[in-house]
Amino acid sequence: MLIKNEDSEKLMGDLKSYNHYVDKALNRQKIKVREKLAFALKTIFRIREAAVLVVVIIIGLILTLSSPYFLTIENLKAIAIGLSTDAIMAVGMTILLVSGGFDLSIGSVLAFGGAISALFLGKNFNMWISIIIALAVAAIIGLINGTIVTKIGVNPLITTLGMMSIARGATLVVAQGYPLAEIPLEFTVFGQGEIFGLPVPMLIMLLIVIIGEVMLRRSRFLRQAYYIGSNERAARLSGIHVDKVKMFSYVITATLAVIAGLISTSRLAAAFPQAGIGAELRVISACVIGGASLAGGEGSVLGSLLGVVLLAIVNNGLILKNVSIYWQGIVSGLILILAVTLDILSRRRRVR
C-alpha cells in the first residue's frame, strides 16, 4: 500500500498527539498514585495511635539493625517488665486526662502502696490481706482527691500536688526512711514470676490495658469522660454523671498506682520509700505523646500504651548504644515536645 506524503504527515501528527495523550494519562496515573499515598499517610498521621505505632516500629527497626542485643528475648522481656508499671498507671491517667483532670500524686501513691503492703507482709499478715489493705488505702486516697476536686472545686493541680507530698511523706513515716525488705517469697511472683515464659508484670499490665481500652472506648459509663473533658458545663446540662465519673477516675488512678507499687515491691523484694519519683510526669508525657490532651476530651488507652512503649524503647536504645543514662531525660523531653508540636502543626494545616 502506498502512503501519500500528506497522509504520512497526518499519521505522524496523529501519532504525536497519541503519544502526548498516553504521556498525559500516565502522568495522571502517577499523580493519582502519589495522591493516594499522600492521602494514606495523612490518614495514618490523623489517627494518633497509628502515627505513634509507625514511629515505634521505625525505631525498633533501627535498633534491630544497629544493635545485636535489641531483638533478643532477654532484652524485650526487660523492656516489657520495665514499662509495665508506667503502662498500668497510664491507663488511669488517660481516663483522667480525657475527662479534663490529671493526677500528680501517682508516683508517691505507688511508693505508699508498696510500703503499706511491705509493712503488713513484714508483720506476717496473709499476702492477700496485705494486698487488699494496700488497695483499700488506694481507694481512700482516690476518694479524697476526687472529693476535693469535684465537691469542693479545688483544681486538680493543687489537690494532687498536695496529695503527692502527703503520700510521699506518709511513705517515709511508715518506712522510717529505710527500704522495707521483709517480703515473703510467694509475694515475689507478681514482679518476678513467669507464666508460659511471659513475665507476670507484663501479663497484669496487658490485662489492665485491654480492659481499660475497651471500657474507655465503649462502656457507657467511661465514655462520658469524653463529654466532660470536652465541655463540662454542657455535660452537666446533658445529664452526664459528671461527678460520678470524675470521682471514679481518681479512685481508679490511685488504685492502679498502688497495683504498680505492689508489682514494683514484688519485683525488687523490697519497698523503697523513694520509689516512683518522677513517675507522674513520665506517665503524663507518655499519655500526651499517645494523643491525650491536657485540655481534656481526647486520648485513648491504646495511644497512651504506645506512648509508654515509645519512651521505653528509646531509653533502651540509649542504654544499648552506651549513651550515658543522664541523657534519658533530655531525649524523653524532646520526644514529648516534638510529638505535641507535630500534632499542633498538622491540625493547623487542617484548619487553614
Partner: protein, 504 residues
C-alpha cells in the same frame, strides 16, 4: 478644587475585592466573591449563616489568607498578611465576640499593644488617660477612663471596643454583628456613632443577620449565599422581600407555622415557685401540644426560671407537677428522667461539645438508649445520629465531623437534635434562634411546631418579639422575677408586650 478632589476619592472604591476564594477542609467557604466599598459609605453584608460573611471579614482583617483572588486597597493591590498588617493599612474590626480584657481599665484596653511610652520605655499613663477621654467624648459618653472594663455593661464595652479601633488611624471599620447583645436604645446610640464615622469619611462594613437594622443604617447591601456573591443593591431601590429572596434563593411566604387550636392536657404545672430574690411566686401551666412563649428583658428572671425547672438551680419554695405527679427535680439528670429537655441560650459554652463529632453530640443525652449491657453500640449510635441529621437537614459532610466546623445554624440544629433524640415530653428552649440566619430560623420554628404537634409541651424563651408573637400559643411576660402578664398568642400585639415588660 478641594471639593472635586474629595469627589474623585469618593468615586473610587477604597476596597475592591475581585474573585476572592477560600476553602476549608470539605467546605468551599468563599467562591469568587467580589466586593466594592467606598469611603464614607455604610456597606452592609448580609447572608444566611454559612454564606461566608464571617470568612470574608476574616480575610479583609487578615485573620485568614485568601486562596485566590485580588484585594485592592487604596488603589494598590495588597496581600493582607496578618491582623497587624490590616491595622497598619487602616482596617480595623469591632469583633462579634468582644476582644477586650475585663480586668484591665478602659484606657489600658483602648491602648492595648500600642501604649505611649516615656523615657526608659515606661508607660505614659497620663497621656493615655487624656487621649482615651478625648476619644470617648466623641461618642457622647462620660466614662472615667480608669474604670475597670468588667464594671461596664456589654453595650458600654462595645463603645470601648470601637474607641480601641479608632485609637489608631482608621480608613475602614468592620462591624461584625455589633447589636447582638444590645437593647434597642443602645442600638440607636451605636447607629449614631456609626453615622458620625461615615460623615468623617470612614468606610464602614456592617455585617448582620438582622435585616431591619441593615435597612435602617446601610447605604448599600451586598448579599452572599453559599459562599457566592449574589449581588449588591442600593437600599433606596430595594425592599426587604427582595433581599430575603436573594439571601435564601426562595420566597419565605409563611414565616411562621400554624398554631395549635385546642389545648387540653395540662402537663406541667408550677405553683408559687420562688428562688431567693430572683423568682417570685411563679405560677404557670403548660399543655401538651402547646408552645408557651416567655418574653422579658435580660435579667427579668426568664432564664433563671428555665434553670429551676431543669434542676440546675435550687428552688426555695413551690411545687412542680408533671402529668399530675409532684416532682422534686434537683439535677438535670432527674429532669431528663422526667422527660424534660433544655436548650440553653449560650450554645457554645453550655450546649455543645465543640471538639467532639456531630454523632457524639447528638447522642450525648441518650447514651442509655444506644447501649447494650452498659456498652455503647456503634450501629445504634450511627443510626440514631443519622436519623436526626436527616430529619433536621443538618449540613455536615459526615457524622464524624467536629461540631466546631459547622456553621451557627447547623450547630443549633445539632443541639436541637440532641434534645429531640431524648424524646422529651417538655422542651425548654432559651433563645432558640439567636445569632442564626433567616432560613435556619424558619426551619427551627417549623421543627419546634412539628414537635408540639406530636404532643410535646414547649416553653420558648425569646427576646425577639416577632418570634414570640409568631410562635407562641400563649405568652407570659416576666419582669423582675415575676410574671407580669399573660397574653394569647394570636391576639397580643408588640406594643402590649413591650409595655408590660417595661412597666415599673
Amino acid at each position: 478644587m478641594f471639593n472635586l478632589n474629595i469627589q474623585t476619592k469618593f468615586d473610587k472604591p477604597i476596597l475592591k475585592l475581585i474573585g476572592i476564594s477560600k476553602s476549608f477542609p470539605g467546605v468551599k467557604a468563599l467562591d469568587k466573591v467580589n466586593l466594592e466599598v467606598f469611603q464614607g459609605e455604610i456597606h452592609a453584608i448580609v447572608g444566611e449563616n454559612g454564606a461566608g460573611k464571617s470568612t470574608l471579614m476574616m480575610i479583609i482583617s487578615g485573620v485568614y489568607k485568601k486562596d485566590d483572588g485580588k484585594i485592592i486597597f487604596d488603589e494598590l493591590e495588597t496581600e493582607i498578611t496578618d491582623t497587624h498588617h490590616a491595622k497598619s493599612l487602616g482596617i480595623s474590626t469591632v469583633f462579634q465576640e468582644l476582644s477586650l480584657f475585663p480586668h484591665r481599665k478602659i484606657f489600658e484596653n483602648i491602648f492595648a499593644g500600642k501604649e505611649f511610652t516615656r523615657k526608659f520605655g515606661l508607660v505614659d499613663i497620663k497621656k493615655m488617660k487624656i487621649d482615651a477621654k478625648n476619644i470617648l467624648s466623641t461618642f457622647d459618653v462620660d466614662f472615667d477612663p480608669s474604670t475597670l472594663l468588667a464594671d461596664l455593661t456589654s453595650a458600654e464595652r462595645q463603645i470601648v471596643e470601637i474607641a480601641k479601633a479608632l485609637s489608631s488611624e482608621v480608613k475602614m471599620l468592620i462591624f461584625d454583628e455589633p447589636t447582638s447583645s444590645l437593647t434597642d436604645r443602645e442600638t440607636a446610640r451605636l447607629f449614631n456613632i456609626i453615622n458620625d464615622l461615615k460623615v468623617k469619611g470612614v468606610a464602614i462594613i456592617y455585617v448582620s443577620h438582622r435585616l431591619e437594622e441593615v435597612f435602617e443604617i446601610a447605604d448599600r447591601i451586598t448579599v452572599l449565599r453559599d459562599g457566592r456573591y449574589i449581588g449588591t443593591v442600593n437600599k433606596k431601590d430595594a425592599d426587604m422581600t427582595q433581599v430575603v429572596r436573594m439571601m435564601v434563593g426562595r420566597d419565605l411566604s409563611d414565616m411562621f407555622p400554624e398554631k395549635s387550636k385546642i389545648l387540653r392536657n395540662e402537663f406541667l404545672i408550677i405553683n408559687d415557685l420562688c428562688r431567693e430574690n430572683i423568682l417570685k411566686n411563679i405560677n404557670l401551666k403548660l399543655h401538651t401540644e402547646e408552645i408557651l412563649g416567655i418574653y422579658g428583658l435580660v435579667g427579668s428572671g426568664r432564664s433563671e426560671l428555665a434553670r429551676c425547672i431543669f434542676g440546675i438551680d435550687k428552688i426555695d419554695s413551690g411545687e412542680i407537677y408533671i402529668n399530675g405527679l409532684k416532682k422534686n427535680i434537683d439535677s438535670p439528670i432527674i429532669a431528663i428522667k422526667n422527660g424534660i429537655g433544655y436548650m440553653p441560650e449560650d450554645r457554645k459554652e453550655a450546649g455543645l461539645f465543640l471538639s467532639l463529632a456531630v454523632k457524639e453530640n447528638i447522642v450525648a443525652s441518650s447514651l442509655e438508649r444506644i447501649s447494650n449491657f452498659g456498652f455503647l453500640n456503634t450501629k445504634k449510635t450511627k443510626s440514631l445520629a443519622g436519623q436526626y441529621v436527616e430529619r433536621l437537614t443538618i449540613k455536615t459532610p459526615n457524622l464524624e465531623q467536629k461540631v466546631l466546623n459547622l456553621s451557627g445554624g447547623n450547630q443549633q440544629k445539632v443541639l436541637l437534635a440532641k434534645w429531640l433524640a431524648v424524646q422529651p415530653k417538655i422542651l425548654i428552649v432559651d433563645e432558640p434562634t439567636k445569632g442564626i440566619d433567616v432560613g435556619a430560623k424558619a426551619e427551627i420554628h417549623f421543627l419546634l411546631r412539628q414537635l408540639a404537634n406530636r404532643g410535646v409541651g414547649i416553653i420558648m424563651i425569646s427576646s425577639e418579639l416577632p418570634e414570640i408573637l409568631g410562635m407562641s400559643d400563649k405568652i407570659l411576660v416576666m419582669h423582675e422575677g415575676e410574671i407580669r402578664g399573660e397574653f394569647l398568642g394570636d391576639r397580643a400585639t408588640q406594643e402590649e408586650l413591650l409595655t408590660c415588660a417595661y412597666q415599673e
